[in-house]
Amino acid sequence: MSSRNKFFRSFLGENPVFGKPISPQQPPNAGTNTQHQGNQSKNLTRRTNTGITPYVGAFGKPELLHLLRRSLFGVKMADISTFTGKTLEQTVDALLTVSSTLPNPPLNDYGNTNNDPNVIYGQTWINAPYDAALNNFREKSLKRWFWDLMANQSTDLQAKMVLFWHNHFAIQFLEIPLASASYVYSKLLFTHALGNVKTLTRAITIDPAMLFYLNGRLNTKRAPDENYARELQELFAIGKGTNSNYTEDDVKAMARVLTGWSINILTNPASTGFVASNHDTNDKQFSSFYGNAIIKGQTGIDAGNKELDDLLSMIFKTEESAAFLCRKLYTYFVYYEIDDTVEAKVIQPLAKVFRESGYDIKTVLKILLMSEHFFDNWNRACVIKDPITQQGGLCRQMELAFPVTTDYAQMYKMFQMGVDYGSLTQMVIGDPPNVSGWPAWYQKPVFNRSWINNDTLPKRNLFSDSLLVYGQKVGTAKVYVDPWIVTKKFSAPGTADTLIADAIEFLLPMALSTKQIASLKEILLPGAIPDYNWSDEYLSATDVSDPNHTKSLNTATIKLRSLYKSIMNLAEYQLS
């Protein structure tokens, strides 16, 4: 059998071995740090009573930074200046406004070493025919492209929501035999990131990659496959909250609604097909959770579409659906702990608006991000950054140069740096551990603490240490953050105290103790020497005509690198 036929068989489902995939990268050490008694337990003695009432307090720099930190993977100095002076609503509106133009597709970055007969080096492979020998390269290219779009995002909520949906409607590229199908899936996320949840759910349900990943392609009237029907409810649209009461019979009925969908592998890329003869044309009865609804069996080539529309209407009519999605948004944007007060004052009112808006994501995000609850001091600085935010965000904050070049292999190796560190810290974009997404956003009780353990935290620090001080090997090059780019944008970088204060405000979500600040100052001014020594050094380092310029530049650069590295090594830097 040719490899091409093997692929077809796999994709068409003759060999249905792909169940719900098991993660190849379960965190080895997550949640092992429990032997210590400190106040790191999560039993807070107080709680907050704020709700979704619009925030009316000052919208100053701390509030702007809080909003931007939660909305972007990393905040650039330019982002701050863009919104300074704008109202909260203007800022949120701008963040919710995304370009309708989709990002350029991933490129052939492998053609310099592995010729692709159908794709020129540097051109996109997304419409090229399947090639068993090259699919792995294309998949790598896709992950690199995806990471780049996160780290080098525009100043709006699109990228952050793309990751949200990627985690929510999780698939694993490594399980999809056709990279172009994974690309189509990714494109869907970008298209609908801030659109309508029902529309996105519909598109995802019959997306070729998802039909493959959760066996939708195998779901026929003769042999119903419940996999997608189960996850649609449990993970995508209803959840397992206390008010989620769908039944096993609902799973079975829903599977029958979804029979007949297939993947058309003769197109490039693969597209969605529907085989009417595989569709169950009987009526489907649902439980009281769905109001005892009956989805009328349909026939013909449009049967699948009609029943899918009915199904999604039924699902999104439940109160639980909106509440479930609001809880996930809350966990992603605010904090993972949802107590009764938060449920009553935030989740339920937000869910009501969500339903009333017809599941418009912008509507619900606008209310959440403008709420007094969101700006409550109680809820600031308490999110542990995911690896994309820590690593991509660092690149974005510090404005690491990602050169656009015709050396496509090298250009994509820069993105691979992010993929690699993501792998080291348990987050490979494109490959969540399983269909549940990353544990950080669902796994009780650890939630986003699952990112951090004795193995991953040093590797997070290694990322910042490498880019700031030691240099990160990327292909044949060694890549560094230029510490001057950000430094020169600070208010008074020649004044040690101001430089440190600006850097802390810019890089950390919370203030530091006097002792910590003194320790950072020791980097710039060792041995308690007077402050003017730094001012002198800064002047000389920034003045090419100064006779000591070369040496001062070297010295000041080392100090700046050490300063930022030290700030990034603080536990506070892991918070957003």
């Binding site: 060792p526 041995g527 001062s552």
Partner: protein
Amino acid sequence: MKRRSFVKTAAAVGTVLPVSLNGMGLKTFEDSPLLRALSRRGSPDGKVLVIINLSGGNDGLNTLIPIDQYSNLSKARSNILLPEEKVLAMNGTTKTGLHTKLTGLKELYNNGLVNVIQSVGYPNPSFSHFQATDNWMSGSETSEAWTTGWMGRYLDGRFPGFPTGYPTTAMPDPLAIQIGNLVNLTFMGAEMNMAMAITDPNSFYNLITDTIDKTPDTPAGHELAFLRMVAQQSNQYATVIKAAAAKGKNMSTKYPVGGTGRRFQLADSLKIVAKLISGGLKTPVYMVSMGGFDTHSLQVDNNDHSEGSHASLMQQLSEAISAFQDDIKLLGLQDRIVGMTFSEFGRRVMSNGSVGTDHGAAAPMFVFGSAVQSGIIGANPTIASTVTEKDNVPMQYDFRQVYASVLKDWFELSTADVKIAMGGKDFNTLPIFKANQSSIEDYVDLVSQISLNRIYPNPAVNETNIEYSTEAGNIRISIYDALGRLIAVPKEGWHSHGSYTVNVDLKGFQRGNYYIQMAQGEKRITAAFLIQ
């Protein structure tokens, strides 16, 4: 001179000894070429070097006192000069003494445990804290901008590929430990710093007791506490450091106790070092730091020049070293450990109007431990009869000679390895360690072997003559300007026993004090003259 002006007393007034709340941090230099070299050689001796950084620029003339220059000193720095009767005598010499407060160091010296190297510097000294510190840590000169440290290069060469695969069975411990939050260029290798950091002594004690600093009872505070705990546990050497701390102990009762802050900074740091070494940590290099030496103003008490801020620093330095040496002796470790002080520069010969001293050039270094040859290497600096505010102590020895001596005679490196660590340059060793082929005896009372007999005319205008005598040997006559810069080498080469005169053309020289240095091998004597 728009910046880095030599006299910054105006700006410095009121900023004497600003209080640093946290002068210390603990860093572990994991693998360094130095350490690797040691382990590759088997280094069963487990030798340890403790580097003491006196940060800010220590006033060498107020530390090691050239008693035979007192009359000129009293003219140059009358507002700060220690009363001659308060200078502590050192065994075997009447020409040189120690600051009143260095009682512990004096005792160690008199017990044969201290080697002093006079006027250590480098040919074209920088007066900037940062550049000078970079020079000392990297082993470079002012004209160079090196990004690797002298220890880092050593460790790099010995352990290529670090940190991959470390810790190893042979070297389970950090390759070096630094206490203090300096930018540790000293341990910077070509690829990475050999240092792993625990921020400060508080962090050290947190680590060994499994506690963390308190955080607020908020969601952010709780997450922060969690992160800090993991961070503490994540130190790859946490286990070995905790084990060493648990097993190790301190035995000396001489450590100052009961306080925090700079008063205890150095002693607390050295106490940790002794504890870790006694606990069996194989780490061969430690670096500790003490700040506050940038004494631009009020470095002495106006009413009693043996008191004041510099006197306090001397006392702390002396107490700390004395307690540490006592401790390691009681612990039976004294033959394995040597200590070495350094500061980025000395201070100006002439004091300023703020009862302080500005950035200077060469200054003495102290190397202590049972492995050293006791005594003083080099001659007292010569103080001109009329000094200007620009005048500096010119160098007699290059700091890299001291480094090379440490590497060769303490760590037993080959000459080739020493050269690598010194960035490809050759430096002659000095008789600091007993292992050196030369005896310090040869450096005492050099006048019988080499002498600068006369400089005439002095003051000079367009030329002067230097009359000197020597035993047979290679002689080098060098001239340094007041800034401590090497200006000219009027004579260099083989001399048979006898007296000589060399004429020096001074046209083009600026007016001011100049210093002549006569060297035979590593023996040095100096004299001053004036160009009018």
